[in-house]
């Protein structure tokens, strides 16, 4: 209980004193219990007054401070600072707002404004008497970060963090890094290939001694909280000894071993366009080491007989690491159309955008007559000239399009048009007909749209109430649509190839969301706390999102998010300790009868269960609690208090105001 409180009533020039009789206020409070002095000042915030307060606090041995002046929004921190400089705890300072909520709001009724000011100051004094000295709790933190996913997002974040001295564990489920970007070929706007970009990042990653890269690696479990996460990793062996690759003649022997491998699987790097063996060479991907696909390997041993260095029998390994923060960069999967969706899987010349990308990249399908210096594009043995592009497959599923993906996948319009232009540039005689639902080449990407239409690409459009239809008759694939741009008349195109412009869905992540306890949104992607206030933060303190794990993005946008996640993680943990808000829920251990309601109410997962004197009670995870107080009203036993807003403080204020 504070007994020597100093009260300062500010005139604010005349802004307060014109309407509030400050002398009357002083009279009313100067003799209250606990008040050691009460003064009137012309400008409480003036430097000289601040000095005077400090002097008073020291000389009069004050233990609490009340300033009745403007809104705390303006000067709470000024006077907390005064308190601190004078040697009393800053939380023993309380500000009474008698300007914005006093003299100004009630300038029409000065007498009542004075009355309100008196009560407000009394309430502030009452609160100060019960105020607790608080210090911000500090927890230690590990200056290490786990980054899940070594695509462009994960590698970017890893490099940022490592460059600023933080240790990074960069893991990827796959045996090769680069993620979706490495599959993408030439990219707008610079024309670099995705593989070039990811290889460059990979080289930087390998050079950086602060980064530990683990491929074939996933998260098994997570314990602990911000600053101190305990993570268990599972590492699937690559099946190749690193040293072996350096040996003479390895490349030839590997080639033979791949030939000898009897297992054919669809090559997901080419989105199923080609097949590969269970023993996969890197094929230009990083690291440039082959890997054994454990899921499909039959352990026949044929390869190992030919190529020493292949170890198909090595065991899975586990590794426990301690990190201060986690960045989730698990990326996206392209939407997989269901069988029969726009002819997919039923009509043979229907492919997805991603497959088409690989088709024009691989070059393996280039053949045929050639027209001048350019080759023709061949798919399934047929020359491709007219390509029908069907947009929004797996996105914006509203109206006649059935499905759960209501969102727009953002990147596909620009990407499809860029790809169509590439096809036009690289192959002879290509004609592109785009069946759109309104082209969404936002920002500078509008220039791709302009370029492609200038080149002669044709755009048709339907609204939600209709969609293009496909038919396959007599060896000809026909796409039809009622075209909004031509007075809703039905248009048809005979297409050599149909490309379904498929959007993004969250990448399957084997329950990572549950392990990390981070929520997903309606669209299935991981959700940030708030798109503007906390755009890369998750509800779990210390766990951040980077890249398309959060939602559809293009590469530049992905990089922006990755940089942001990295610097947020860095500023959170690099100091070695984390300062927390002192306002926090506190459990009265004697009163608590664990019912779990507080756990349910807490938006931050900051309530744990613990044993106390033979009973189960709630415990507040101080590193996660944000002091919102949502657990307070749900507690049947009134066993929770919020520091700074305890029952005592609030009730004393209510009483003072009601008096």
């Amino acid at each position: 209980m504070k007994n020597r409180i100093g009260v300062y009533i500010c005139e604010c020039g005349s802004n307060i004193s014109d309407y509030v009789d400050v002398e009357k206020v002083r009279e009313a409070v100067k003799d209250l219990e606990g008040v050691a002095l009460a003064k009137i000042t012309m400008f409480a915030c003036a430097d000289s007054t601040q000095q005077e307060m400090i002097r008073d606090i020291r000389e009069e041995k004050l233990d609490g401070l009340v300033v009745a002046s403007c809104s705390p929004k303006l000067h709470l921190f000024t006077f907390r600072n005064v308190a601190e400089r004078a040697g009393i705890n800053k939380y023993n300072y309380v500000q009474a707002n008698i300007r914005e909520q006093g003299s100004w709001a009630h300038s029409d009724k000065p007498a009542e404004a004075t009355e309100k000011a008196i009560r407000s100051v009394k309430a502030a004094i009452a609160r100060t008497r019960l105020s607790e000295a608080m210090t911000s709790p500090v927890i230690s933190s590990e200056n290490a970060v786990l980054i899940i996913g070594a695509g462009i997002a994960g590698m970017r974040s890893a490099l940022d963090l490592a460059n600023t001295g933080t240790s990074v564990y960069l893991i990827d489920r796959d045996h090769f890094v680069g993620g979706r970007t490495s599959q993408w070929g030439e990219i707008f706007p610079t024309g670099e290939s995705g593989l070039e970009v990811t290889t460059d990042l990979y080289r930087q990653v390998m050079k950086n001694e602060n980064i530990v890269l683990r491929t074939g690696c996933g998260v098994v479990s997570k314990a602990g909280s911000v600053g101190n996460f305990d993570i268990r990793l599972k590492i699937t062996p690559r099946g190749i000894k690193k040293e072996a690759a350096a040996a003479d003649g390895f490349a030839e022997r590997l080639e033979k071993a791949v030939d000898a491998c009897p297992v054919f699987v669809s090559d997901d790097f080419d989105f199923g366009l080609t097949s590969r063996k269970a023993l996969q060479p890197s094929g230009g991907r990083m690291p440039e080491l082959p890997a054994v696909d454990r899921e499909n390997c039959t352990l026949c041993g044929e390869c190992a007989k030919i190529c020493p260095g292949i170890e198909i029998n090595s065991e899975e390994a586990y590794e426990d690491i301690k990190v201060g923060s986690v960045i989730v960069a698990t990326g996206f999967d392209p939407y997989e159309p269901s069988k029969g969706e726009f002819g997919y899987g039923e009509i043979k010349n229907v492919v997805t955008l991603q497959q088409f990308r690989r088709l024009i990249e691989t070059g393996g399908n280039r053949a045929g007559s050639g027209n001048g210096r350019r080759e023709t594009l061949v798919y399934g043995g047929n020359e491709i000239r007219t390509i029908a592009w069907i947009f929004c497959v797996g996105s914006r599923q509203t109206g006649v399009l059935k499905g759960d993906n209501k969102y727009c996948s953002r990147y596909c319009c620009s990407s499809a048009l860029h790809t169509a232009l590439l096809a036009r540039k690289n192959f002879a005689g290509i004609k592109n007909i785009h069946f759109t639902r309104g082209v969404r080449t936002y920002g500078k990407m509008e220039t791709i749209y302009e370029e492609s239409s200038a080149a002669g690409d044709i755009f048709l459009q339907s609204f939600d109430d209709t969609a293009p239809t496909l038919s396959f008759e007599g060896g000809v694939t026909t796409v039809k649509v009622f075209d909004v741009l031509t007075g809703d008349r039905e248009m048809e195109v005979g297409a050599d190839l149909v490309v379904l412009v498929t959007g993004m869905v969250p990448r399957s992540n084997e329950g990572l969301g549950e392990i990390m306890k981070i929520p997903t949104g309606r669209d299935g992607f991981f959700n940030e706390v708030h798109p503007k206030l906390k755009p890369v933060e998750t509800m779990m303190d210390g766990i951040f999102l980077a890249g398309t794990a959060q939602g559809p993005k293009n590469i530049t946008e992905t990089l922006n998010g990755s940089h942001s996640a990295a610097i947020k993680a860095h500023s959170l943990i690099s100091g070695g300790e984390i300062e927390l808000e002192p306002t926090m829920a506190k459990i009265d251990r004697n009163l608590c009868e664990w019912c779990g309601r507080c756990l349910e109410a807490c938006p931050f997962d900051a309530i744990d269960k613990e044993e106390y004197e033979g009973k189960k009670i709630a415990a507040v995870d101080t590193s996660a609690c944000k002091g919102c107080g949502m657990c307070l009203p749900v507690c049947q036993e009134n066993a929770i208090q919020l520091t700074g807003f305890s029952d005592g403080e609030i009730i004393s204020m209510i009483d003072a105001l009601a008096e």
Binding site: K431, I433, V439, Y449, E450, S453, A454, A455, G456, I458, F459, Q461, K480, L485, T486, G487, R489, E490, M491, E492, V493, G494
Partner: protein, 387 residues
């Protein structure tokens, strides 16, 4: 059902379409066009037909003729797709598509054909004079009492009145040829715009009569053009059109009255008409040539080669006409006669090529298109009201 034919737009590029593929179908052009109305919305729809290769829809449309190319659409087009120029190109394309001989298309799309045909006719005209109407060697006595050259008396052995009759006959033959082609082309146009539409609309005969006044009204006034912003264009166009038509009528139908030996006083209608037409035509030529050279304003940004041929031919005709007049009133006998032949050698091919097959044909197509459009629209309206 419409089958998309992307290659069609390449064809229209030859008729002068520029950059129209960049159109993103915002409809701005149609909305700013003061002539675009409910039943006939353009230019976007026509541009769209072009991009998609909807040839039949284009051929049965009268819309390109309803456009007077004020340039507002192109000027305000956010994608700079030159919608106005596509209407121009489509007018050329339609002129070619009405022409059953196929010559028009050749003139428009081939430089060799375009210039070759003009040269050929020019040479034929010159040859005709050389063989059948050779010059009299003696300039004496060719000056009349006014001191001017006797224009009709320079052919050896043929006196003035007969000469005029011969030239008049030639004129009428030429007019017949022009009319034959033009009228048959117009019939073709009628088939495409009115008859093909029959599936949808049947036009009652009475309507043809009731709407006929429109034909003359629009031909005479070009009133639609004046709805476009910038009235000066309309004035200019009207001056040219009226001057040209006057001249054409006077020369073809009233030659004996126009081409007299006597030089009338300045205020005589014969001379007055000549001066008026010369002024109108010359002014238009100068303004448009300067415009095209400077590429000022939307309508002059792009010039098809036939635009230049047209302007040059018209200019040469006018120039030789003026010279002829000057030489004549100043009594310069030889100069007058040579210039007379040169004048005809330019005028005749211009009329033969331009009137039925090229630019000048719009003089007929435009008012007819309005007429046909009114027929179809009114028939459709009464059909709707009747039902």
């Amino acid at each position: 059902m419409v089958r998309i034919r992307p290659e069609f737009s390449d064809q229209i590029k030859k008729f002068g379409g520029v950059d129209f593929n960049v159109c993103y179908n915002c409809g701005n052009c149609t909305a700013v066009c003061p002539l675009s109305e409910n039943d006939n919305t353009f230019p976007r729809r026509l541009l769209r037909y072009t991009v998609l290769g909807m040839e039949e829809d284009i051929q049965s449309s009268s819309d390109p003729w309803l456009c007077y190319y004020c340039g507002d659409c192109s000027e305000t087009c956010p994608r700079q797709a030159n919608p106005g120029e596509i209407m121009m190109a489509l007018r050329r394309y339609l002129t070619a598509s009405y022409d059953w001989t196929g010559l028009s298309k050749k003139f428009y799309t081939s430089k060799a054909w375009g210039i070759g045909s003009l040269l050929l006719i020019s040479v034929i005209v010159a040859m005709l004079f050389a063989f059948f109407l050779p010059f009299s060697a003696d300039p004496a006595g060719m000056i009349n009492e006014d001191g001017g050259v006797m224009i009709n008396s320079f052919v050896r052995g043929i006196e003035g009145e007969r000469f005029v009759r011969i030239i008049e006959t030639g004129d009428l033959v030429m007019a017949a040829i022009i009319s034959f082609f033009l009228i048959s082309n117009i019939f073709n146009m009628y088939l495409k715009i009115v008859i093909r539409n029959r599936k949808k609309v049947r036009v009652p005969v009475s309507l043809y009569v009731r709407e006929a006044w429109n034909l003359f009204y629009h031909f005479g006034t070009q009133m639609r053009f004046s709805k476009c912003e910038g009235r000066s264009y309309w004035v200019l166009h009207w001056l040219l059109m009226s001057g040209y038509t006057l001249m054409f009528t006077v020369i073809v139908v009233f030659l004996p009255w126009f081409q007299t030996e006597k030089i009338h006083p300045f205020y005589h209608p014969q001379r007055f008409i000549g001066y008026y037409a010369t002024f109108g035509i010359l002014l238009a030529i100068i303004v448009w040539s300067v415009g095209r050279l400077r590429r000022s304003g939307e309508i002059h940004k792009y010039s098809h080669k036939t635009d230049w041929v047209f302007l040059i031919m018209l200019f040469l005709t006018t120039l030789t006409g003026i010279l002829l007049h000057l030489f004549r009133i100043n009594g310069m006998v030889h100069a007058t006669y040579y210039t007379y032949v040169v004048h005809l050698a330019i005028l005749v091919p211009m009329l033969l090529v331009e009137v039925p097959f090229s630019k000048w044909s719009h003089l007929a197509y435009r008012p007819l298109a309005i007429y046909f459009t009114n027929l179809v629209n009114k028939a459709a309206d009464s059909g709707k009201n009747g039902n």
